[in-house]
Amino acid sequence: MSRKPRPLVLVLQYIFLGLMTLFALYPIWFVILASGRVGSRLYTLNLLGMFIPTEWTFENYQVMLSGQPYPFLTWMRNSLFVAGFTTIACLLIATSAAFAFSRFRFYGREFGLILLLAIQAFPGVLSLVPVAQLLTAFKLYASHWGLILAYTIGNLVFTTWLMKGYFDTIPIEIEEAAMIDGCGPIQSFLLVGLPMAKPALAVTALLAFMGGWGEYVFASVLIPAPDVRRTLMVGMYSLANTQSIPWGYFAAGAVMTIIPVILIYTYFQKYLVGGLTLGGVKG
């Protein structure tokens, strides 16, 4: 469908693209502007300052990075810790499960796969109370490890399906060739099949990491303890829920939280789109 349209239609298309670009970019651009503003106002009184930087200071960043009054870097370290271990655990567990679901035939396989999807229908918010009680019993409440456990299992369903979908697209003959050359089924998978699933692994790792990095509800309930143990999202939310909101600090923190993620996503874009469409979501 690449016939060149009439000039008027072409202009309309560019206008639409321009508007969508503005829509997509403005909130981010707004945070960046606000993070460089003096004082704690998120808005400025002149309209021009809403769109271009009329003033700029790094004061907000300095305050956020200094750790006083908000332990921003500690929050960030907590989030990195939680998200990092979630990613590792998720990759290990989901890959092995996806491998079994994709390569073995066993009694209860279909049931298991459908069960995985169907239990996702249970509202996550409402499993919080029993999960919290269970973690309390195991002395994991208010600990990062408990949160990692909850995140890992919360991500398992999606990641298992994604990886299983991708493994299914890898031709089995390649592994068979390795088996003829003397590998066992598991060895051949680890040495031959797994390296071919790199895009799916990258996407899974990215999504698992982002799931841990950006999650709010579980983190806010399972880590009720003092400021220093909070994750980034809970910390930032608490910052925006105080009496007089320090918007400048909030914006600076938001920029430092969001920009790295945007860069990672841009870098992984190719994998992300390809991995998602090849794996779970495609019919």
Partner: protein, 441 residues
């Protein structure tokens, strides 16, 4: 397909497995693979498989299945802020409450223990009981009747499609169906029926509002994604790579929805960005989030910002897999752009985009929306004491019941009803979208 039994103890030989005997039989590659694995004994195979899926199984059992069972149990009790503690002498409670297990037994709190409700379904009754009185059922039937013209329109369209030339286009059939719906709504006094239902239960208000939200937000996201994908799929657009890179930014930011929702909330504040722009042009500012309808519209807009890049990327991927010769053939036949869109593009997009649409309708971007609403409005603005707020969608309502009112039992009953609904929706969607194709092969 024939599958070797999981728990078969004796080792099996290739001869005992009726695998792909004839060439014309459908024979997936995996089945051949099993021939190579026959040297494994049944027990060894079972243990290997268990080792692979064991951690997943255990985790799902502990943190997914257990909470479901717990909620089902608790929904039959009167656990709330006045009766928060387990009574470990009751057998079922002592089984299901971790605090009652011997190895974890701690001194229970000071509050009253909760007991099983008398009658058993009291929580369910208080949630949806009034919907099943004579008046409620009548109102529900009236609502259901509204869908009849639309269903009939769909069937008529299907029948007309089978004819060589259609007497009327499908568009007009739909318009006709809609017109009859509106007429029917007026005749049946559906407004009155709605008032009855809203007065009778919180449950109805919350679920109806959530469904309304889903029906607006999901198509909106995908329409924007579709238009964007159609425009950016044309190779005459300059800077396509640039635009595609831009469109990934909200997607990346959507992983930190709580922060971005707070920023968006600022735009809609009384002293926020939108009002400032309005004032600069001499307009009047509005307290957007203090008005129920505007607040819901604001949430839909924010959800559009979060979701359209995903829809765009999914649709673009599907568009690029449509072979070009389809369009060339249509060009030869003199089809216009719109005819090509309706007769080639959309039908070919359907199989790959439909699962994504269904999943986002059921999931966190649709029916189970929580974070964005929580950060933007917290479920408000208030509609009066004891009534759900104007943007209190299903998940927000449940969260508030648990964490603000400590109404565990009521929330449990609510969760169970929602779960049954979503469970059926999930199974049905798997059937229509066949995302489980791999499981059935």
């Amino acid at each position: 397909m024939p599958s070797p039994f999981f728990f078969r103890r004796r080792s099996f030989s290739a001869a005992s497995l009726p695998i792909c005997a004839s060439a014309d039989q459908f024979c997936p590659a995996h089945t051949q693979w099993e021939v190579l694995m026959v040297s494994w004994s049944g027990r060894r195979k079972a243990l290997t498989i268990l080792a692979f899926i064991g951690p997943t199984l255990l985790g799902i059992l502990a943190l997914n299945i257990y909470p479901i069972i717990y909620n089902v149990y608790i929904s039959f009790t009167n656990r709330n802020q006045y009766h928060p503690n387990p009574d470990c002498t009751v057998f079922l409670t002592s089984v299901i409450e971790p605090g009652c297990w011997p190895m974890f037994r701690s001194n229970a709190g000071m509050g009253q223990p909760y007991v099983i409700q008398e009658p058993l379904f009291a929580n369910y009754d208080s949630l949806i009981g009034k919907l099943f009185t004579g008046e409620g059922v009548l109102a529900l039937v009236k609502l259901a009747l509204l869908f009849a013209p639309l269903i009939i329109a769909g069937q008529v369209n299907k029948r007309l499609d089978r004819q060589l030339t259609r007497p009327v286009s499908s568009f007009w059939v739909w318009i006709g169906g809609l017109a009859i719906t509106v007429l029917l709504a007026w005749i049946l006094n559906v407004g009155g029926a709605m008032k009855t239902l809203e007065a009778s239960s919180d449950f109805f208000i919350v679920v109806f509002r959530t469904l309304l939200f889903v029906v607006i937000t999901v198509p909106l996201n995908y329409i924007f994604g579709l238009i964007l994908a159609l425009v950016l799929n044309g190779d005459y657009i300059k800077g396509r790579t640039f635009f595609r890179a831009i469109m990934i930014i909200p997607w990346a930011a959507s992983t930190m929805f709580i922060i971005m929702s707070l920023i968006w909330q600022f735009f809609f504040r009384e002293q926020g960005t939108i009002n400032q722009i309005l004032r600069a042009f001499g307009g009047e500012g509005l307290a957007w989030l203090a008005n129920g309808n505007y607040a819901l519209a604001a949430i839909i807009l924010v959800n559009l910002w979060f979701s359209f890049p995903f829809c765009f990327n999914i649709i673009l991927g599907a568009l690029q897999s449509i072979p070009a010769d389809q369009y060339e053939a249509a060009d030869v036949d003199g089809a216009t752009y719109w005819q090509q869109l309706v007769n080639i593009t959309l039908p070919l997009l359907r199989p790959s985009v439909m699962p994504a649409i269904v999943l986002s309708a059921i999931g966190g971007g649709g029916f189970q929306m929580f974070g964005t609403v929580w950060a933007m409005t917290g479920g408000g603005p208030s509609q009066g004491a004891g009534v759900p707020g104007a943007t209190e969608l299903v998940m927000v309502y449940a969260y508030k019941q648990v964490f603000q009112y400590n109404a565990y039992a009521k929330a449990g009953a609510f969760a169970v009803i929602i779960f049954i609904f979503l469970f059926i929706a999930t199974l049905y969607s798997m059937r229509i979208s066949r995302i489980t194709q791999g499981a059935y092969e």
